[in-house]
Subunit: 184 residues, 2 copies
């Protein structure tokens, strides 16, 4: 429905329609954010090695209505995100969850590296702000680039946001759990 409207509004230009969808989608998702996403599904993925399951991931994907929760695309997305997390090993679900001390430690590390590279003090802070993005991209689920680029190109966060825009209600990853044996 949203997609049709977007194509109408942009006179059939696919790229413009995608932008339109993103903008209006984001706007309407933000509007919906106040509502409580109390429905949803649990996505699961297990990775086997030599015939035995050695990594498992659970993803809680929350929606507002059970109408969306029982949608096949929605359930598939939950399983896809679980698969992604099994492969990409995010440490945290969102930036909010990164502990203050882990973040400070990383920032100090980047600053020290920048100084070692001979960067002047005035721009070290800017370098830190820039490079901390890589840290998030590596360790935070929502910032990671989705591994199945054949299915979706962008971050996991983008994927959830576009799903929300398409489904027409607030959708969020409510929890993530990863269990592995024989690692490290």
């Amino acid at each position: 429905m949203d997609a049709k409207k977007a194509l109408t509004e942009t006179a059939g230009d696919m790229d413009k329609a995608a932008d339109y969808l993103r903008e209006t989608g984001v706007a309407s998702v933000a509007k919906r954010a106040a509502r409580d996403p109390s429905e949803g599904v649990v996505g699961v993925y297990r990775h086997s090695q030599a015939g035995r399951p050695v990594i498992g991931v659970l993803i809680g994907l929350a929606s507002e209505t059970d109408f969306v929760a029982k949608n096949e695309e929605f359930i598939e997305a939950a399983n896809d995100i679980a698969m992604h997390a099994a492969a990409s090993r995010p440490q945290w679900l969102s930036r909010d969850e990164v502990p203050e001390d882990a973040l400070e430690k990383e920032k100090e590390l980047i600053a020290a590296q920048a100084r070692n590279e001979g960067k002047p003090d005035q721009i070290v802070e800017k370098i830190v702000d820039g490079r901390i993005g890589s840290f998030y991209k590596e360790n935070v689920l929502l910032d990671q680039v989705f591994v199945r680029s054949d299915k979706f190109e962008g971050t996991v966060g983008d994927m959830v946001q576009q799903l929300a825009a398409r489904m027409g209600e607030n959708i969020s990853i409510s929890s993530m759990a990863r269990v592995a044996v024989g690692e490290g």
Copy 2:
């Protein structure tokens, strides 16, 4: 192998054999505890409601060798424990994991109840020690009575210990994760 030996040692008496197995099993498991259980499997269970998965549990069941890890009975046990945890909602894996403040709060509650019942101060402490067992049985996975009594009668901890004795190596639950949507 252990079971055969137990039956031989106890002249075929099933009950005595079970006791023998438990005693010698426990002894040999304790001996093995120093070794590192670095192999294992991840058990999984998903519970669905109205056709959509709403609860998921992962259980890391660790063994010493991949010979045991690929044993069908071992993998089934991991899945069974995950199923148990989905139904019984343990908050912690072992007594060690119960936070000190949660334990203190529970003890104070029991003591207050005992005093309300008119119990003299001298025995309140004994009552606390006794009743704290119920708290563990309710909230700690290893202390919970396994839900599928048709498969095993006893606690999850007993189940793991007997599995270890039967498999002949150190086996332990290394991790547990539970994700649910739409609860509370």
